[in-house]
């Protein structure tokens, strides 16, 4: 009864389809409701704030502003969280300074949500405004490499090699700002207990991050606060750092000695982190026969005025293709905005977009098929780190994708409708396969049911299901016997759920704790059965909830009864595999797309998307495929839809809603397909599994851009690519 590799249905499915899955805002204790008032200027200070009318309004229980922030939150207080970039983290209500438009400047707490919202509009604020730089392009001259971490080392002699290349290109690519926008708005429900302790239900990708923040800001330790997060309604990075609703609900609960809930509005979901706008400059050169000779990638990205948010962007250009002469540069420039935030495949999705567009352009210059060009420049070791890969079946991805898509005969497939131009494009994608330390606990009760706990999260990725599968497999029991619990600071430590490393990190820990359990139960069995004391562990097998030795079977429950044990508990902490040091771990994919462009209207459609991935052992093809498809749709959204638009005069996001910030809808998605090639990896982690949550978005926007060129002869070199870009180009 192998579970690993099965298309196991989600174990939390019944809760999700009945509405019984409880997200942070779904706790139904009696709460006061909190509503945030936001700044309407981007830079300057508050000169006066009149809350009297709001205070007098029916149902209002308390109002918090910079005027009444408790003193204890001002001195030597640590507002950082585990993912704070260099700089000074935002401190709500700390003083009268305005750092960005949309900054929370007052919190109204009332009996009902409607009262809090209405009362917030009664607050009168006057400001003193200062001049500021509202966008990346306005502040390019202040871009500096000093604010950014150093990219991978340059190698060879780029200038000389570029000069000596037969074909060269110099191109600029621009990406607009993107917002995460999980369907579940950020929310925190704080239960204030009679002894003054708190239970905090937070939307977060790792409860430990919330706890760290609450500890730093409010001095709350694990003995006085428990953070829980059973279900997370998507996050994609937005929950990697605690967001301000956690501060707000906790502050109000502590000051009012009452349960408080704060749920962000959709508009407020645009008032914190985002994928930053970036500008890439690419210089590539190749020889007559299409061998890459020189590659330079420079990126300038936006950050806030108070933190230096950075991503690994340009390094990807030193990694994906064989090239001896590489020059990488990365700069940041501050804009009057909140700090950017890691968003699905941060850095990779940006760097690889520029690289894969540029590769396509260079291949075109050299007159070489883009797939052939990539094969010619294939590399089987990590040139940035000078290390071998743990595994890399990208060539198999190319071959399989070529076959499934019909790349060779693609031109014969073109639609014949006279108003449509059809084009085909491709790209390579890649994402890190990292492993972090993780701890788990396991206990089996007298009925033979296993409870496994870890403070990790399930943001829709399938953690509950996949961990249950791994445990069932390793223990030799049916999946119904496993209860995997997560999202609680009372559970053993876990890395944040991000970086596509949860299966690798937590999954490996689960596998190991199950191994430990088998040794333990065998010991108990041997101790209580003198005849078997000398049996070697290797001669025992475990199946169907039983320990088996030479055709005799002893059920786990029998062994427990015999030993008069009610429960057997084990803990385990897993460290990253040795291969994580000696080798470089990456998952890879090839994506091919077909686009149609309306000749007259410029409307771009994507009738077909094919991705073939190599991601090691796939624990659950059902959930893995779903994640891959989802991230491919994200790639489409990034390419053709998503654009956070800032009015630079006011530093305000103009389209802070789903009507104007367009994400892909069901009708945007047509024939979409993904599959995995076999990839054996005994180095990346004990499971041989690589994460898939981020892989599918990497490269996809470039593939669409390349296909639009194929269809129209136009290189748009910006994201998103809109119909007016097609018509104007």
């Amino acid at each position: 009864m192998l579970n690993i590799g099965n298309k196991q249905k989600r174990v939390d499915g019944p809760q999700k389809v009945t509405g019984k899955a409880t997200y942070a805002a779904d706790i139904t204790s009696q709460f006061y409701h909190a509503y945030v008032l936001q700044s309407t200027i981007a830079c300057g200070s508050i000169t006066a704030i009149d809350t009297s009318a709001a205070e007098a309004f029916e149902g209002v229980k308390g109002i918090f502003t910079h005027k009444n922030l408790p003193e204890r939150l001002k001195n030597k207080v640590d507002y950082t969280d585990p993912l704070s970039p260099p700089g000074k983290p935002f401190r709500p209500f700390y003083n009268d300074k305005i750092l960005y438009n949309g900054q929370p400047i007052a919190l109204v707490v009332a009996q009902t949500f409607e009262q809090a919202r209405y009362a917030s509009k009664l607050i009168k604020v006057t400001y003193e405004e200062k001049k500021f730089k509202g966008s990346l392009s306005e502040n390019l001259k202040n871009a500096s490499a000093d604010r950014a971490p150093e990219p991978a080392s340059n190698r060879g002699d780029f200038k000389k090699a570029f000069k000596n290349s037969d074909y060269t290109i110099i191109r600029e690519y621009r990406q607009s700002r993107n917002y995460h926008n999980p369907m579940e708005p950020h929310a925190t429900s704080v239960e204030y207990k009679s002894d003054g302790s708190l239970v905090v239900y937070d939307k977060i990708q790792g409860v430990a991050s919330s706890l760290k923040y609450l500890n730093g800001v409010f001095g709350l330790g694990a003995d006085t606060v428990q953070v829980k997060s059973d279900f997370v309604g998507g996050a994609f990075g937005s929950g990697l750092r605690p967001q301000y609703q956690l501060f707000m609900a906790t502050l109000a609960a502590l000051e009012l000695n009452h349960n408080v809930q704060m749920v962000m509005t959709r508009a407020q979901m645009f008032s914190f982190g985002y994928r930053p706008e970036v500008i890439h400059t690419m210089k590539l050169g190749c020889s007559n026969d299409g061998i890459l000779q020189a590659l330079s990638h420079k990126t300038v990205g936006e950050t806030s005025t108070f933190e230096d948010f950075n991503e690994t962007i340009v390094d990807w250009s030193g990694l994906l293709y064989k090239c001896e002469n590489v020059n990488l540069e990365y700069e940041l420039t501050p804009v009057q905005s909140y700090t950017p935030l890691d968003m699905r495949a941060p850095g990779g999705v940006s760097g690889v977009y520029a690289l894969e567009c540029a590769i396509d352009e260079l291949a075109h210059e050299a007159g070489i098929d883009p797939l052939e060009f990539r094969r010619k420049n294939y590399v089987d070791y990590d040139q940035n780190e000078d290390k071998p890969f743990t595994s890399k079946e990208l060539m198999a991805c190319y071959a399989r994708c070529e076959e499934v898509f019909g790349w060779k005969n693609r031109k014969d497939l073109s639609k014949t409708e006279p108003h449509l131009l059809t084009g085909y494009g491709m790209a390579t994608g890649s994402w890190e396969a990292l492993q972090q330390p993780a701890s788990v606990s396991l206990s089996m009760n007298e009925e033979g049911t296993f409870t496994i706990k870890c403070a990790t999260a399930d943001i829709g990725t399938g953690t509950y299901t996949v961990m249950s599968q791994i445990a069932a497999d390793k223990l030799g029991v049916s999946i119904e016997k496993i209860k995997f619990m997560l999202g609680d600071t009372a559970f053993p430590d876990s890395p944040i759920e991000g970086g596509s490393w949860t299966v690798s990190s937590v999954g490996s820990a689960v596998a190991s704790v199950c191994e430990k359990f088998k040794y333990r139960i065998a010991d108990v069995w041997k101790r209580n059965n003198p005849d078997y004391q000398a049996v070697a562990f290797g001669d025992i097998s475990f199946q169907k909830g039983k320990l088996e030795y030479r055709s005799k079977a002893f059920s786990f429950t029998e062994i427990m009864q015999q030993a008069s044990k009610e429960e057997l508990s084990i803990a385990h902490s897993e460290s990253p595999a040795e291969g994580q040091n000696t080798h470089s771990g990456y998952a890879h994919c090839c994506v091919m797309v077909e686009v149609t462009v309306d000749k007259d209207l410029g409307i771009i459609k994507v009738p077909r998307l094919v991705n073939v991935s190599a991601a090691g052992k796939i624990i659950n093809p059902k959930t893995a495929e779903n994640q891959l498809l989802g991230s491919m749709v994200w790639g489409l959204g990034m390419a053709l839809r998503e654009e956070g638009m800032v009015d630079t005069r006011y530093g305000r996001v103009m389209n802070a809603n789903f009507a104007e910030y367009h994400i892909a809808v069901n009708a945007d998605i047509h024939d979409i397909h993904t599959e995995f090639v076999e990839e054996k990896d005994d180095k990346v982690n004990p499971l041989g599994a690589k994460g898939v949550g981020e892989l599918g978005i990497v490269g996809l926007a470039a593939a669409i851009s390349n296909a639009i060129f194929d269809a129209t002869g136009k290189r748009l070199r910006k994201l998103p690519m809109l119909l007016d870009d097609v018509l104007e180009a």
């Binding site: 389809v17 509405g19 997200y23 369907m183 579940e184 309604g233 998507g234 779903n626 991230s631 998605i669």
Partner: protein, 155 residues
């Protein structure tokens, strides 16, 4: 406070309530009835997470004032399954993995029920069109479409 008396059935049970005129059906369900299976994703009728059934039609509950629903038959996700059994739609959503995080799922399921009840779907495009009022940021669209197709065909 000015309130209005409204009568309706909620998941089969008759309800009489005196309610302020500005209370939306969504806020009533979540805050007054504690029926939190219906989600607030945008509060502006743009995302469909709050979709419920009113007289068998799918409706954004954030755009309905409760006072306007006198005499209505309201069904939320909590009223879709019977005590012992998941509905056909719910079973199919699980089988097809037509979700990831699950936040938009109650709304998606309500839309498929309304489709089954009321819509005439003649093509894949019409099906996708019908389901496009429900955003899914995890983008489980391929599986949602598969599930919706099965629900339409099997019922």
């Amino acid at each position: 406070m000015n309130t209005n008396l409204v009568h309706f059935t909620l998941n089969g049970e008759p309800v009489e309530v005196a309610i302020e005129p500005w209370t939306t059906l969504l806020d009533y369900l979540r805050y007054h009835q504690k029926l939190v299976g219906t989600k607030k994703g945008c509060d502006h009728g743009q995302c469909g997470a709050c979709t419920v059934l009113i007289d068998g039609n799918s409706v954004n509950s954030c755009l309905c004032l409760l006072v306007s629903l006198d005499g209505a038959e309201i069904t939320t996700i909590e009223g879709v399954a019977t005590a012992d059994n998941l509905s056909l739609e719910q079973q199919i959503f699980i089988e097809e993995d037509a979700y990831q995080c699950g936040f938009c799922t109650p709304g998606q399921i309500c839309s498929t029920i309304a489709m089954r009840n009321r819509a005439e779907i003649n093509s894949e495009e019409e099906l996708k069109d019908w389901m496009s009022g429900n955003l899914c940021r995890c983008a489980a669209y391929k599986n949602i479409t598969k599930a919706a197709r099965r629900i339409y065909e099997e019922s």
